[in-house]
Homo-oligomer: 397 residues x 3
């Protein structure tokens, strides 16, 4: 039986389905499982007009937002909420997000996803870079926090169901971060999950459509609150280096991987990691709860995403008690600094950069222990240096 | 008979009605009166996608705009137009309003309501304040004219009809001015009118959802043109102080309460009032026409809204011949100045600030005279000092 | 038989048709020709919510975009594509365009039309002008590239079919570039074509609704790629003067009217022309392909549009291989410079400025030769001075 596919959105072909739903009945696939893929349009408030796709593999439900650059909004694995509670009622339509506002922090006004991409021209900021204007003259170019891609709607969205012993549910999307006299990237994402699985796979191809090489930065801002984050929760990352972003982060470097309860007045801290991969480059990071019976894991390749950032933001629950597990091509510093450190990737003319991540949930002590063991094994491949102070190689001092 | 209620929008519950209408027939309430509450979505031009609610109590019709922070767009009381004719064709969808444009005056591009709230983080501007950024570092934060709340769509909207001897029509809404690393306010508004009444009541609760006290400013920008505003029209506010905003306003301080005909080249003037309330704090301001047979009245409490601003903008009709009657928690100066003068309110963690205003129309000489008498009585409670020059306590000099 | 007309959008009357279509059957007009006028709303990606009108006169098909200031998106004349391939998938909804971004170049993020108007308050930029703020105080006012009008949705759109020997298809629209304390212009456009014709006529009335004279700038940015633009293509403009915009453009002044193949790394060049008209002021510009068998022509009046700008942007195909033929009231320099050179038009209070252009396609060698002859005849009316260097009268040096 061939795979089944449906085109939901194609701007060039003028295809767009306002509503869509498939499951076992419509497809004859996976008859024993209550799986579904549904698409709708949200209405009201800041969500008005947002395209919304809900995938349920029978165990893991998660939502994707084509209107917000194909981000993964939230999930639920066998009753465990996967994501965080931002102090906004999203997903927020990009037309309510003005990146230049708040001194370049406008991106925050739309930020409430579990997994949101930062990039593709830059991931850091706010700050200034030097880039050619329409006359080719290098001019000061303001960078806003975390780049543009999260606020660009997908121009093409499709759904695929692959039959077989273990059927696979797939959503693909294309997002263009492109404009005259700017870099021209196409992000082609494939988000997939097997029926009954505890994993969501995200495979991204970033194409440089230009006739010249293009600098590029990409960071997966993966954000989780309770029930994984709680007092006594811990972040495990097999690493050769951990360093604080700044003096403020340095004050907690000794316990950077451990989390406290929601704390009024807590100001975010960030830590830079150099993760260790296996012989093939495969690595991971795990946020496990205090009792060690529940965890969310991000898997990635250090060949594709060699830098890892921890965002620790354990303010009050209502204000966003959350931590970010962020594999990236580099660190979310201002681009000129990352360039100077040789960490900004360059995609050749017409070339493609591939990045793959997986979001995994464990909800048993045995499962969590197994992943912890995996991390411990990887950690044996390198000694971890913990820097008590910000490093000139990692932080603009 | 219990009250009847309908939920029109709830972003969290994914409730949204594109169209809605109730009246005597649907409810069995107020059978003798041709009242109605209708909801629709506007299309075309700058209005495209705007949610729009029209309430008609049988005598007073008015429209509310959930998409624009639950503002009151326009009204009509027994044939008298209540509002003004801005030089734009609104109500304008917030996605066409870029607050930072025009040097921070972008708010004006969406401004055409009879009653629009300014706030909640600040009401004045444009200017700079110092506020913590995402790292907790105090940085220069640009404030744009009149704040954000008017351009935030309501996340929850409901309608209620309360039966009884005099049935009451109610629209409630929730608007969130909130984001990560920003103040987190919820505005809960209840807008109500009795069948056949000449009054619309607005009761606002502003909730500080944060775990720390939050500064807050609120101003009701209530704007009226003809047939209330005309040559010889007059503004009456029982006051202990009136002062011009600047030297330009000072040139007409002696006649600040009187209005001329539409005047080409007229540049707006503003005046600060300290209104006098009764023993319970109740006060009011009235704009009456030249013949004194027609008036629009704003009622408010000086305990909630101790400051009153008059906006006098009597340019040509097509350019916006209008005056603003603006009760507020303080004056719409830049926030640092208002803070320095001790006028910026602080809501404790989790606390609520309540503000109530009423919009009233009189269309008989007797009715107008009665209100004028009420004002005169209040004025007896204090001597009114009129400052010929801007005051250092009220204007940054 | 009277003309037939339909109102598609009227914001004030709350008229809006989501879909609309007429042709010979619905009208009884032009029965022998497969003509049509259709209106729809686009969905998905950056186009979501864009009103779209497609006119087909039986030979010339073209699309108009009410949501983008009544621009002409693309056309097709007997199989020849009219327009260009921008590196975005538009037409782009204005809510994705933030004019102040990219250092004032945000306009580019929505730019992909064949014919787009620049103006009406200014056409050049980015840069700063001095203009009165809400207090009448002259303040620095940032101008963003090419002004606002292209990103303002039409408030009124209508369709007309005029029967007769040669029936005429007409679309009219009104776009308001207007706001409190800003200039108040209404653009009334009438876009028409005869059945079977190779010409689209655009007649614009720009009304100054203010009680005071208003400065005004207008430029028609008309953009074409293949199959008209190609290696060996040529631009012919009967002129008394041609000058390079800057030193970069000066390097190719000798061959400014000739085009090369798509060239990686090509940086745009602009040239200023003073076109020559006939006794009635009629002039034109033609872009013809290398073989001279295919051409696109812009006709205009030098009395209405005395300045002509050539935009030469022959980068790689995928990055926007395109040239602009741009008749205007002046040149798209920053407004203060154009004002200083006496080229900024002033419309009196309540007055109207009329500008007419026509888009014509020739697809035979004979047709192209005829237009070339017309241009040669006009050129005889004046000697053409070609300046090798930028001129102080045309370029801020």
């Amino acid at each position: 039986m061939a795979s089944l596919s449906w085109l939901l959105t194609d701007v060039e072909q003028r295809v767009w389905l306002e509503n869509f739903a498939v499951g076992p009945q419509e497809t004859g696939v996976g008859a024993g499982t209550a799986w579904s893929i549904r698409k709708s349009v949200l209405h009201g408030g800041l969500c008005d007009g947002v395209d919304f796709i809900e995938v349920d593999n029978g165990a893991f439900r998660f939502s994707l937002v084509p209107t917000r650059g194909m981000g993964l909004w939230r999930g639920d694995y066998r009753g465990q909420f996967v994501g965080w509670r931002a102090p906004i009622k999203g997903p927020v339509h990009p037309h309510h997000v003005h990146l230049t506002e708040r001194g370049g922090l406008g991106w925050l006004s739309g930020f409430d996803e579990a997994i949101v991409r930062c990039g593709l021209d830059w991931t850091g900021g706010p700050g200034n870079d030097i880039a050619p204007n329409n006359n080719g003259t290098p001019v000061q170019t303001p960078h806003t926090l975390h780049g543009r891609i999260a606020n660009v709607p997908a121009s093409r969205v499709a759904v695929e169901v692959i039959p077989g012993k273990v059927p696979v549910l797939v959503v693909t999307g294309e997002v263009e971060e492109s404009s005259l006299f700017l870099p021209q990237f196409t992000l082609r994402t494939r988000i997939s999950t097997e029926l009954g699985s505890n994993v969501v796979h995200i495979r991204d191809e970033i194409v440089n459509r230009k006739s010249a090489p293009a600098e590029f930065e990409l960071l997966y801002h993966c954000n989780f609150g309770p029930p994984f984050l709680e007092k006594g929760a811990e972040l495990l990352v097999p690493s050769r280096l951990v360093a604080p972003r700044d003096a403020h982060a340095a004050t907690e470097i000794a316990t950077c991987g451990r989390y406290g309860a929601p704390t009024a007045g807590y100001v975010e801290r960030c830590y830079w990691y150099e993760p260790v991969g296996d012989a093939a480059g495969n690595s991971l990071a795990m946020l496990r709860n205090a009792a060690g019976e529940r965890a969310v894991i991000m898997r990635f390749s250090v060949r594709q995403l060699p830098c890892f950032t921890q965002w620790k933001n354990i303010g009050p629950l209502a204000e966003g008690y959350v931590t970010g597990l962020e594999p990236g091509t580099d660190y979310p510093n201002a681009k000129p600094f990352e360039r100077q450190q040789g960490r900004v990737q360059v995609i050749p003319a017409g070339g493609t950069y591939v990045a793959e991540i997986a979001l995994e949930v464990q909800d048993t002590a045995a499962g969590v222990a197994q992943v912890a063991k995996e991390i411990a094994t990887l950690q044996k491949r390198a000694k971890c240096k913990v820097s008590k102070r910000p490093l000139a190689s990692h932080t603009p001092l």
